[in-house]
């Protein structure tokens, strides 16, 4: 049911863990299926994402998208990280089964939540970043 890439990221998830004193941390969930993703970011003074770590309570797709999302934002600027949408994550994983598309939204939203936390901590405004939702179900209903 899953692509080889998804299975690879599920079996060998990149960047699992926590960052102590992170620049930003965000937790988002999907109340419907009950899954939760937490993203930690370490951002340097030039606004480059040095490190990204995650923890996920969810299905195979949720784990794989978390892993891929951390890979895609590492080394990027904040603005570049904002371009890492769920579609980008899915493409990088060679697609997901239709029932699992919502899992990739969790990854996108977790990045946004972590960036939002970073912006709040540093009293800055990130162009184009909207206040993340705690429960992505709200977002799914808007978009689909």
């Amino acid at each position: 049911m899953y692509s080889e890439k998804v299975m690879d990221h599920f079996n060998n998830p990149r960047n699992v863990g926590e960052i102590e004193n992170p620049s930003g941390v965000g937790t988002v969930g999907n109340a419907k299926c009950g899954d939760i993703m937490r993203m930690y970011l370490d951002i340097d003074e030039n606004g480059i994402i040095k490190e990204a770590k995650f923890k996920t309570f969810g299905c195979g797709a949720a784990v794989a998208t978390s892993s891929m999302a951390t890979e895609l934002v590492k080394g990027k600027t904040i603005q570049e990280a904002l371009q890492v949408t769920n579609k980008a994550v899915m493409e990088a994983l060679d697609g997901l089964p239709p029932v699992k598309v919502h899992c990739s939204l969790l990854a996108e939203e977790a990045i946004h939540a972590a960036l939002w936390d970073y912006a709040e901590k540093n009293n800055i405004k990130i162009e184009g970043l909207q206040k993340p939702v705690n429960d992505i179900e709200e977002k799914i209903e808007e978009e689909y």
């Binding site: 299975m7 599920f10 079996n11 998830p13 699992v16 926590e18 937790t27 419907k32 299926c33 009950g34 899954d35 939760i36 993703m37 937490r38 923890k55 996920t56 309570f57 969810g58 299905c59 195979g60 949720a62 784990v63 029932v99 919502h102």
Partner: protein
């Protein structure tokens, strides 16, 4: 491979398969035909019917072959509702039935019937007091499963049968998981209709039975030819029926022996898991449970991830997690026994057969320990829990 999903389906054993084999290439006659070539097929069907009946203390002519458990459930419920629609349109069932029953009841609700879904306790045993209170003058059918397919809880079928009889209400039981696995006697238990399915009993898929007590006049569900005394049309599935009969016969002979063997292995599995994996819940009743069923929730982890990792170790299992359901809701059974969504998420069902060995169970538990620990180390819920502890 270690197969621990026998509640989903079972292997056709060689002993059963040998008996089925002649009915494909050699004895292929339509059993209903008049010529002598059909005689062997028809007598094999008769023999199978007898075995299917004897397993539950029924008469041969009370057994109707169907295409499986889902068809039998649909038939029993829809036809009973139809038969008694002038008397009343109220049906009683439980919250933990298989979808073959639940969705049929929901269909009838759309047709103007009223259905009461009686709750279960935290072990999944139906609340008899609630059931009794639910009975009304217009109640025409009580349908409660003999044993649950997820958590394995065995229901008080005798008590329900007694209540139904006392109130003059037809009683149907979905015995798909129970038939051939635990003792059932349709007379002692006052069962009017019973569904069972071959593939849960080492017979092929796509064959089942409906037991209909003599005198219960429900109509037919599949209309057409005169097979099954005009109550279930369709050319007889000779091979499937022979397989069903063979499996039923073996199950009757070995019921006690098999149950004993499975219970020993099941309890060993449950003990090891509960002793060695922290923050684990055993679901279902510890004693009133199917001999082959073990069902757990591992806190802080999700079932689909667990199943994929078990699969990578060659272990076949199942889960009631939302992520595996396709509908994104956790199993209705786990919610009915009062589990929170996030607990239901980490559910695992392991269902044994007599062919499983202690070595297989040991390997499974060893792997399970590693996998649960690994998934917990990735879980934000576990992280929060550990931080709260310190």
């Amino acid at each position: 491979m270690i197969y621990l999903d026998n509640a989903a389906t079972t292997r056709v054993t060689e002993e059963v398969f040998e008996q089925i084999k002649p009915y494909f290439c050699e004895q292929y006659a339509n059993p209903s035909a008049i010529y002598s070539f059909a005689g062997k097929a028809m007598s094999a069907v008769d023999e199978a019917r007898k075995s299917a009946a004897e397993l539950i203390g029924a008469e041969s002519n009370e057994i109707y072959f169907t295409a499986g458990g889902s068809e039998s459930d649909n038939w029993a419920i829809k036809a009973a509702a139809e038969l008694y629609k002038d008397k009343g349109k109220h049906i009683i069932t439980s919250t933990i039935e298989h979808h073959a029953v639940l969705h049929t009841c929901q269909y009838l609700e759309k047709q103007g019937y009223e259905v009461t879904y009686v709750n279960v306790d935290e072990n999944g045993v139906i609340r008899l007091d609630e059931l009794e209170k639910a009975i009304r003058p217009d109640t025409v059918l009580i349908t409660v499963m003999a044993a649950n397919n997820e958590i394995g809880t065995i229901q008080p079928i005798s008590e329900i049968g007694r209540l139904a009889k006392k109130n003059g209400i037809l009683f149907h039981t979905d015995a798909v998981q129970a038939y051939g696995h635990i003792p059932i006697d349709v007379n002692e238990m006052n069962i009017d209709m019973l569904s069972a399915s071959g593939h849960k009993l080492n017979a092929p898929k796509g064959v089942g039975i409906m037991y209909i007590r003599k005198g219960v006049r429900i109509g037919s569900f599949i209309h057409g030819g005169a097979q099954e005394r005009s109550r279930r049309a369709g050319t007889l599935n000779t091979a499937g029926i022979v397989g069903f009969g063979a499996a039923a016969k073996i199950a009757k002979e070995k019921l006690e022996e098999n149950a004993k063997k499975e219970i020993a292995l099941r309890d060993y599995l449950i003990k090891r898991v509960m002793d060695e994996i922290p923050y684990t819940r055993l679901n279902g009743d510890a004693v009133k449970r199917l001999p082959n069923n073990a069902h757990f929730c591992f806190k802080f982890i999700e079932g689909e991830s667990l199943l994929i990792l078990l699969d990578q170790n060659g272990i076949c299992a199942s889960s009631g997690s939302a992520c595996t359901s396709g509908s994104l809701d956790p199993s209705h059974v786990l919610l009915a026994i009062g589990l929170a969504h996030e607990i239901a998420h980490g559910s695992l069902r392991l269902t044994l057969s007599t062919e499983n060995t202690k070595e297989e169970i040991d390997f499974t538990v060893d792997k399970l320990k590693e996998i649960v620990a690994r998934l917990r180390s990735m879980s934000p819920l576990y992280e929060d829990f550990v931080k709260q502890q310190s």
